[in-house]
């Protein structure tokens, strides 16, 4: 009775039937690569989990260099189910980044970036940057020795960019070295600035996907099956993927609880054999390929410039790949995509095993 009255109250004021019509009218193409459509939904789902677990952790975390580490230990050891929420947040970040990379590479190889979806590609690309910075800033909040050294190295690396490197390094650190100021800034980025930017960018990305519809690979244009209704068919499939995702996440969180090292000591030497998080390993390995000096110039600066240009090329690929935009096959860009994928995977594996 109450639910009926509530339903009447809403339908009198809002066009609920119109929303139903929109949902019923939304169809998703059916072809042999349709599994790629679920990678975006999974990333979004993991992002929501990050928001929820992050809100819980933020209730107990203290963003001060004296108390940050202790608050993490207290969350892990004293708080009821605190270790589990922290592990969910830790593994959720890893899975979200992995899922986003899979989403990125499938769309790169299937040329989903081509006209008229350039803005979808650009917003997605910005989200990768935002998510990686989310990971970096969150990693630092633990305030253990590994995180402290990693941030010193990462912000120092950013400082090697020509011209803009110095100001970026000072901006990120909030000073010359990694200190309490850096922690304050990274905390602000992690819990306030980046979530706000992500909400805007994700909202725009999802809205643009609704406007343009799902991209169909050029090779599948003439081989499509009957389109499937988004609701309920594709939505049910999304639900299955999300359930599996949360199952894997909970399993990882339970079997491999989030680690924590010794408290950060700014005066202590860097730990031996320190490695960055897995999504930075390909950059780390690339930097190691370059010698210290090349023709009298700083090798690291040259390496970071080369990496930045390679990233910029992918960012601008919708505007460079003219054949795809014209609806013609462009095998050269498929090879380029495969090269990027193989390079990323190979360097990550080598960095992991090294």
């Amino acid at each position: 009775m109450i639910s009926r009255r509530l339903e009447d109250w809403i339908t009198e004021r809002y066009d609920v039937e119109g929303l139903h019509r929109v949902l019923r009218a939304k169809y998703v193409p059916s072809h042999r690569y349709e599994a790629s459509y679920f990678t975006g939904g999974l990333t979004l789902f993991l992002f929501v989990i990050q928001f929820l677990t992050g809100m819980g952790l933020a209730l107990y975390y203290v963003p001060h260099s004296e108390y940050a580490y202790k608050s993490i230990v207290d969350i892990t050891a004293k708080l009821n189910m605190g270790w589990f929420f922290r592990s969910l947040h830790h593994w959720g970040a890893q899975l979200a980044i992995a899922s986003l990379f899979i989403h990125f590479f499938t769309n790169l190889l299937l040329k989903a970036y081509r006209k008229p979806r350039e803005l979808i590609w650009i917003t997605g690309f910005i989200m990768i940057t935002v998510l990686i910075f989310f990971g970096l800033s969150g990693y630092f909040l633990i305030w253990d020795q590994r995180a402290f050294t990693a941030i010193r190295v990462a912000t120092g690396g950013a400082g090697n960019l020509p011209l803009i490197g110095g100001p970026i390094k000072i901006f990120l650190r909030g000073g010359i070295d990694v200190t309490q100021e850096t922690l304050t800034r990274f905390y602000a980025f992690h819990v306030s600035i980046l979530p706000m930017i992500s909400l805007i960018i994700i909202g725009l990305h999802v809205l643009l996907v609704q406007v343009h519809g799902m991209s169909v690979p050029i090779s599948q244009k003439d081989k499509q099956g009957k389109p499937q209704p988004f609701f309920p068919n594709v939505f049910y499939k999304d639900l299955i993927i999300w359930l599996l995702g949360i199952g894997v996440l909970a399993t990882l969180a339970v079997i491999f609880p989030a680690p924590i090292g010794a408290k950060a000591d700014p005066m202590a030497p860097a730990p031996e054999n320190i490695k960055p998080e897995w999504y930075f390993l390909f950059l780390f390995q690339t930097l190691r390929l370059f010698p210290g000096q090349i023709a009298g110039l700083n090798g690291e600066t040259i390496a970071i410039t080369v990496i930045s240009l390679a990233v910029l090329f992918v960012f601008l690929v919708p505007f460079v790949d003219k054949r795809s935009s014209a609806g013609k096959p462009s095998p050269v860009y498929t090879y380029v995509g495969v090269f990027y994928l193989v390079y990323f995977v190979a360097m990550t594996v080598i960095g992991f095993l090294d």
Binding site: T76, A77, K78, N80, M81, G82, W83, P229, P232, N233, Y236, K237, L239, I240, L243, L244, I246, G247, A250, T251, V254, P257, A258, P259, I260
Partner: protein, 83 residues
């Protein structure tokens, strides 16, 4: 199929309880009020729940597709109510 999955789940549940009972908590969970065996049991129950939900969703999806293939998913506007 569902019945055998259920029995397998129960067996796994009991085996886990047997092997993990009264073992000390891992170092990372020191101080946690939950012991290892309870955590792993809860994880198995969680997976049983997930698999159950997936089975229900797949059944629902098949039923939806069957009705859609019959082309009777659209409500006839002049269909009489059978009160």
């Amino acid at each position: 199929m569902v019945r055998s999955s259920f029995i397998l789940g129960i067996v796994l549940f009991l085996i886990t309880a047997l092997f993990n009972y009264a073992e000390p908590a891992p170092a990372d969970l020191a101080g946690s009020p939950y012991h290892r065996h309870i955590i792993y049991q809860a994880l198995i129950l969680f997976w049983i729940g997930i698999i159950g939900l997936i089975v229900i969703i797949v059944m629902k999806l098949r039923e939806t597709k069957r009705i859609q293939d019959m082309d009777v998913h659209k409500d006839a506007e002049d269909a009489p109510f059978l009160d």
